[in-house]
């Protein structure tokens, strides 16, 4: 029993480690469309909570969270075919080229980083080999599902970590864009707790064939953002 408790405690520490913005994934370089809105003066301080909620409900929840949950399960079942299916499905759902590229770059570095310390990593290696051979992309949410499963982090907690990381990356971008100050950012993160919970519960067990995303105005703005000469963020 004592050892089981120790195991549970170390998994909790893994949750903290992987949720920390210090964990190296490159997400600090993305604003998920916020910079595009900021440049056309379409976003203010009061809009940030709604912006993140909309992204979670319309984009990240029904696509990334669903793919992450499917990848997590696939890894647990040692089903590499299903894992690659999640990878392909999510990659082709990302309409913005720079978002696709940034997501795969972050995912690949995440896999490499966790491979240096995870014990249960046979399938992580198989996934990386598939990426090297061009059979998979390493898109971030799927890589996240694989590594959290390899670290024995429960699926629902992994979902919350993914949504939390996404929300924090946008709040961080809003601060660097001068839209928010630091206390406001923390208040928004606090207020997002039920939104994150609902997003995970609604999407993590969704069949991957029902994965979707729909935010056309944001998609168009981000496509314009790709071509900008002056910008801080990748997306």
């Amino acid at each position: 029993m004592i050892f089981m408790n120790i195991e549970m405690d170390t998994n909790d520490v893994s949750i903290l480690q992987m949720s920390d913005s210090f964990f190296p994934t490159g997400l600090y370089a993305t604003s998920s469309g916020l910079e595009a809105l900021s440049q056309v003066k379409k976003v203010k301080r009061k809009d940030i909570f709604q912006f993140i909620t909309m992204q979670l409900a319309q984009v990240i929840g029904p696509s990334d969270c669903t793919a992450m949950g499917y990848a997590h399960e696939s890894y647990k079942k040692k089903d590499i075919v299903s894992l690659l299916h999640a990878d392909e499905s999510l990659y082709y759902m990302k309409l913005i080229e720079e978002t696709r590229i940034a997501s795969t770059r972050s995912g690949n570095q995440l896999l490499k980083c966790v491979s240096t310390f995870a014990r249960n990593q046979k399938m992580l290696k198989e996934y990386q080999i598939a990426i090297t051979r061009g059979k998979a992309t390493g898109v971030y949410a799927v890589s996240f599902g694989a590594v959290t499963s390899s670290l024995n982090i429960p699926k629902n907690k992994a979902g919350m970590m993914l949504m939390y990381g996404f929300a924090v990356s946008i709040v961080g971008a809003a601060m660097r864009l001068g839209i928010l100050q630091h206390f406001e950012g923390q208040k928004i993160i606090h207020e997002l707790r039920p939104v994150i919970l609902v997003t995970v519960l609604e999407n993590i067990d969704r069949p991957i064939s029902n994965m979707w995303q729909f935010a056309p105005i944001l998609d168009i703005l981000q496509m314009k953002h790709e071509a900008l000469g002056s910008k801080m963020f990748i997306t």
Partner: protein, 219 residues
Amino acid sequence: MGSKRVPRVGIGGPVGSGKTMLIEQIVPILSAKGYKMSIISNDVISKEDAERMRQNLATDKGLMPEEMVIGVATGGCPHTAVREDPSINLSVVEELESKYPFLDLILIESGGDNITTTFSPALADYFIYIIDVTGGDKYPRKRGLGIENCDLLVINKIDIAPYVGADLKIMERDAKIVRTSKPTVFVNSKTAQGVNAVVSFIIKDVLFDALPKMSKQVN
């Protein structure tokens, strides 16, 4: 995975110190010797540096294909992108290594930052830090991680030292004290004065005097 590591030089320094121009002077000299290079330019707020180098070195001079000059956005965190979390830069480097195994060297320009800039050893094998004389001759004496830890300190814009009251002898003396045995080179990147010395350090300390890969294949 599987591709061979290409030597990498990280070039950091404050905004306006001459990082981009130093690269624009280094690349033609190394190209003339047959070395093949790629450039990753970390942007703070614009793509201007990457686009300028692409136009100058690739389009106009034909020293490399245009796709080998790559701009990377850093989310306003230039030091993070080359030190604490170099994930995006590492991904780009690995893509280059995989796509272009014939490369002899990858030059990584950091976004303009402050005197605490350093490169993660996972990202750069050799670190050049560049400052200029307009900050005054106290600059090396004030230390900072970049000045102290870099493999090669480059002091740029020496032509205007008399006009800004900077004494190059004081800078040389203080750099020696602060950096002990590590080298310092004085340059004027506008005219390429001193740049050959920088190139010599790269060939000796990064490439270990190796011939260009392509010349080995021909031979």
